[in-house]
C-alpha cells in the first residue's frame, strides 16, 4: 500500500508533477539524442575509415612502419595472404604496394600516398569503387591508369583522361616517375583522404619501382564483423607467431593504425556520459525542490501517518518511492520519445548538408548523420535516473523524518 500511496500522491498536484516529469523527459531526450548524434558521427567516421581507408586489420613489415620506405616488403606476402583468407571471420584480403609520392600536373603538385592494387581483390576489401563519381574504377586491363580523389583532381586541375605524373623513389632511392591516365574520380565523405590518395595497378607500380608484382608492403584485411577485430588480431598473432618474433611482420587493428580515431570514439563516449550526469545533477535540484514542497504541503498528513504507527523507516521509504516514481515516469517518457527520435534518424539520417557539408567532409565526416544509441547508454540512463532520484529524495525524506507527530497533526495546510 506504501507504493500505492506514493504513486497516487504523484498525481495529487498534476501540474507540478507534469512540470517536473516534462523537465526530466526533456533532459533525457536532449542527452540521448545528443549521444545518438555523436555516436552516429563517430560510427560513420569509423565505418568509413574501415571501408575506404584502413580496413579492419593491416599487416606490414615493422621496418616499413618507421618511415614507409618501400623496400621493406612483407616476406612471402602471397602465402601470408592465403593463410589469412582461411580464417572464417575474414571476409576479404588485399595485397598492396604503398608509398609516399608526388602527384603533379602541368600546373601543380601535391604530396600523396600512392596505392598499387589488384582491382578485383581491392573491391572486396575497400568500398572505394562505390564512391566513383566520374569514369570507372580501375580494371586490370588498362595499363598505367589511375583513379584520384575529386579534391586532388581540383587541386591539380586535372579531369578525366588527363595524365597525372606520379614521382617516387624506387627501392634504390632513385627518383622515378610515371604518367598515369585518369580513368576515374572518387569522392568519399573525407576530403583529406580524397586530396591525398592515388590508386594505380599494383603491376604498374611494381614495374616502376623495380619489384616483382608479387611483392607487397601492406596486407589489408576486411572482416565479416567489426566487433571481431580484436579476436582475429589475437588469432593472427598466434598463427604468425614466428614471423612476428622474427620481426618480419606486425599485425595492427584499425584503432592501432588510427589512434586518434580510437581516442575520438572514447572521448565521445565519455562526453555523452558526462553530459548525462550534468543534466541529471541539474534535474536533481528541481526534483529536490518539488519533493520538499510536497513534504511541506503534507506536513499534517505525514504527522497523521506517524501517529497511526507508520515507522520512520516507512516514512522515509514513502518519500523515496514517490521521488523514484516521479523520476522514473519522466525517464520513461524521455526514453520512449528518444527511442522514436533516434529510430527515425537512424533510418532516414539527419541531413546537415544545408549548414555544414563542406566543413564536416573536410574533417572526415559525412554530412548526413545516422543516429545510434547503444543499449548500454539507455541502461546507464535508467540506472543514473534511479540513483539521482534516490539521492534527491534524501533531503526531503530527512525533513519528513524531523516532523513531530503531535505538532505536525495540528499544522494548517
Amino acid at each position: 500500500m506504501l507504493a500505492a500511496i506514493a504513486w497516487r500522491n504523484l498525481w495529487r498536484n498534476k501540474l507540478r508533477s507534469a512540470v517536473i516529469i516534462t523537465a526530466i523527459a526533456i533532459g533525457i531526450i536532449g542527452t540521448v539524442v545528443t549521444d545518438g548524434f555523436m555516436s552516429g558521427m563517430t560510427d560513420q567516421r569509423v565505418n568509413a575509415a574501415i571501408a575506404n581507408e584502413v580496413s579492419n586489420i593491416q599487416i606490414h613489415n615493422p621496418a616499413f612502419l618507421l618511415n614507409e620506405e618501400i623496400k621493406y616488403t612483407i616476406p612471402q606476402a602471397q602465402k601470408t595472404g592465403n593463410t589469412i583468407r582461411k580464417n572464417q571471420d575474414v571476409k576479404a584480403v588485399s595485397l598492396r604496394l604503398k608509398c609516399q609520392a608526388m602527384a603533379s600536373s602541368a600546373i601543380a603538385g601535391a604530396g600523396v600516398t600512392v596505392y598499387g592494387i589488384r582491382p578485383d581483390d581491392e573491391k572486396q576489401v575497400s568500398a572505394l569503387h562505390e564512391h566513383i563519381i566520374k569514369g570507372n574504377y580501375l580494371s586490370g586491363k588498362q595499363r598505367f591508369s589511375a583513379i584520384i580523389g575529386q579534391k586532388l583532381a581540383k587541386k591539380l586541375d586535372l579531369g578525366m583522361d588527363d595524365k597525372v605524373i606520379v614521382t617516387l623513389a624506387d627501392t634504390t632511392g632513385t627518383i622515378t616517375s610515371g604518367a598515369f591516365q585518369i580513368v576515374g574520380i572518387f569522392k568519399t565523405s573525407n576530403d583529406m583522404f580524397d586530396e591525398s590518395h592515388v590508386f594505380i595497378l599494383k603491376s604498374d607500380m611494381a614495374k616502376l619501382m623495380g619489384f616483382s608484382s608479387a611483392s607487397s608492403n601492406e596486407i589489408a584485411i576486411l572482416l565479416n564483423n567489426n566487433h571481431s577485430t580484436r579476436s582475429v588480431v589475437r588469432e593472427l598473432n598466434k598463427t604468425f607467431k614466428k614471423e612476428i618474433a622474427a620481426h618480419q611482420i606486425v599485425i595492427q587493428s584499425w584503432d592501432q593504425i588510427l589512434p586518434i580515431l580510437k581516442s575520438l570514439v572514447e572521448i565521445m563516449d565519455y562526453f555523452s556520459y558526462l553530459f548525462l550526469l550534468i543534466i541529471l545533477v541539474a534535474l536533481a535540484f528541481a526534483i529536490i525542490n518539488t519533493m520538499l514542497m510536497a513534504v511541506m504541503e503534507r506536513t499534517r498528513e505525514i504527522g497523521i501517518l506517524m501517529a497511526l504507527g507508520l515507522s520512520k523507516r516507512k516514512i522515509f521509504s514513502l518519500i523515496v518511492l514517490e521521488t523514484v516514481f516521479l523520476s522514473i515516469t519522466g525517464a520513461l517518457v524521455g526514453i520512449l520519445i528518444s527511442i522514436s527520435i533516434v529510430y527515425h534518424y537512424s533510418i532516414y539520417g539527419f541531413d546537415l548538408s544545408f549548414v555544414a557539408a563542406g566543413g564536416l567532409n573536410s574533417i572526415g565526416y559525412s554530412s548526413t548523420i545516422f543516429f545510434r544509441v547503444s543499449n548500454n547508454f539507455y541502461l546507464a540512463t535508467a540506472i543514473m535516473v534511479i540513483l539521482i532520484a534516490v539521492l534527491s529524495s534524501i533531503s526531503p525524506a530527512l525533513k519528513a523524518l524531523k516532523l513531530q507527530p503531535a505538532k505536525a497533526i495540528r499544522e494548517d495546510i
Binding site: M1, I5, R8, E301, I304, G309, S311, A406, I409
Partner: protein, 230 residues
C-alpha cells in the same frame, strides 16, 4: 482495572524564550471501557494531555502508564510500534489519507500490523458496515461529506482493536445530524466492543453522551464527574 494511569505529569514547552507550562501536575486514571470526555477552555491543556495519553508526545516530568508499560521508557521506534498496536485516533479534521479509498483507509492500520489481505479486507468491510458507510467503501475522502469521513476515521481507529481510542474534538467540524450519528456510532462501539474512548471536546452533545467528564484548566484537573447509567 486502569488501562491508563497518569502520575503527576508536567509538560513545559520551550519553543519560545518564555517557557509555557501546558500541564501542571496531572494525575488521572482511565478504566477499560470508559467513554470519557476531557473538557476545558482553549489553552487549558486538553490537547497536550490527549497527545501524551496517545503517545504522540511525552511529559517533561511524571509518568504515563498504559497498563504495565511506562511510555517514557520507550524509544521513538518502540513508541511508534506501541501506538500502532494499542491506540486508535480520531482527529478533528478527519485526517484520512486522501489518496486511499474509505476501505483502504480502514485497512491501512491492519496492513501495517501485517494482517493477511483477506482478513483485513473482511474486517475493514465489517467496520464500514458498522459505521453505516459500506456503500462508500470505494470512495476517496474527497468524495465523502465531513460526517462520512469522520465515520471512516472511526472505522480506521477501531480496525486494529486498540486498547483505547483518542478522539480530539471529533465533532468540531460536523453539523448536528452528523454529530449525533457519529456519537451514536461511537457509543454503540463502546457498548458492543467495550472500546475505551477518550475525547477532548467543547461540544455539549459529546459531554451529554460521556460516562465521565474530566475538566481541566491551566494544566490542572479541576473536576472529575462520573455519570452512571449513560
Amino acid at each position: 482495572m486502569s488501562i491508563i494511569e497518569v502520575k503527576n505529569i508536567y509538560k513545559v514547552y520551550n519553543e519560545t524564550k518564555v517557557p509555557v507550562n501546558a500541564l501542571n501536575g496531572v494525575d488521572l486514571k482511565i478504566e477499560e471501557g470508559e467513554f470519557t470526555a476531557i473538557v476545558g477552555p482553549s489553552g487549558s491543556g486538553k490537547t497536550t494531555l490527549l497527545n501524551i495519553l496517545g503517545g504522540l508526545d511525552l511529559p517533561s516530568k511524571g509518568d504515563i502508564f498504559i497498563e504495565e508499560t511506562n511510555l517514557k521508557d520507550l524509544s521513538s521506534r518502540q513508541l511508534t510500534d506501541f501506538r500502532l498496536h494499542n491506540i486508535g485516533f480520531v482527529f478533528q479534521s478527519y485526517n484520512l489519507i486522501p489518496v486511499l479509498t474509505a476501505k483502504e483507509n480502514t485497512e491501512f492500520i491492519l496492513q501495517l500490523q501485517k494482517v493477511p489481505k483477506k482478513e483485513r479486507i473482511q474486517k475493514a468491510m465489517e467496520l464500514l458496515e458498522a459505521v453505516g458507510i459500506a456503500d462508500k467503501a470505494d470512495h476517496r475522502p474527497g468524495q465523502l461529506s465531513g460526517g462520512q469521513q469522520q465515520r471512516v476515521a472511526v472505522a480506521r481507529a477501531l480496525a486494529s482493536q486498540p486498547r483505547f481510542i483518542i478522539a480530539d474534538e471529533p465533532t468540531a467540524n460536523l453539523d448536528s445530524r452528523s454529530t449525533n450519528d457519529l456519537l451514536e456510532i461511537m457509543a454503540e462501539m463502546n457498548r458492543k466492543y467495550h472500546s475505551t474512548f477518550i475525547f477532548a471536546t467543547h461540544d455539549q452533545r459529546v459531554m451529554d453522551k460521556a460516562h465521565r467528564i474530566v475538566t481541566i484548566d491551566d494544566g490542572k484537573i479541576i473536576g472529575d464527574e462520573t455519570f452512571k447509567g449513560r
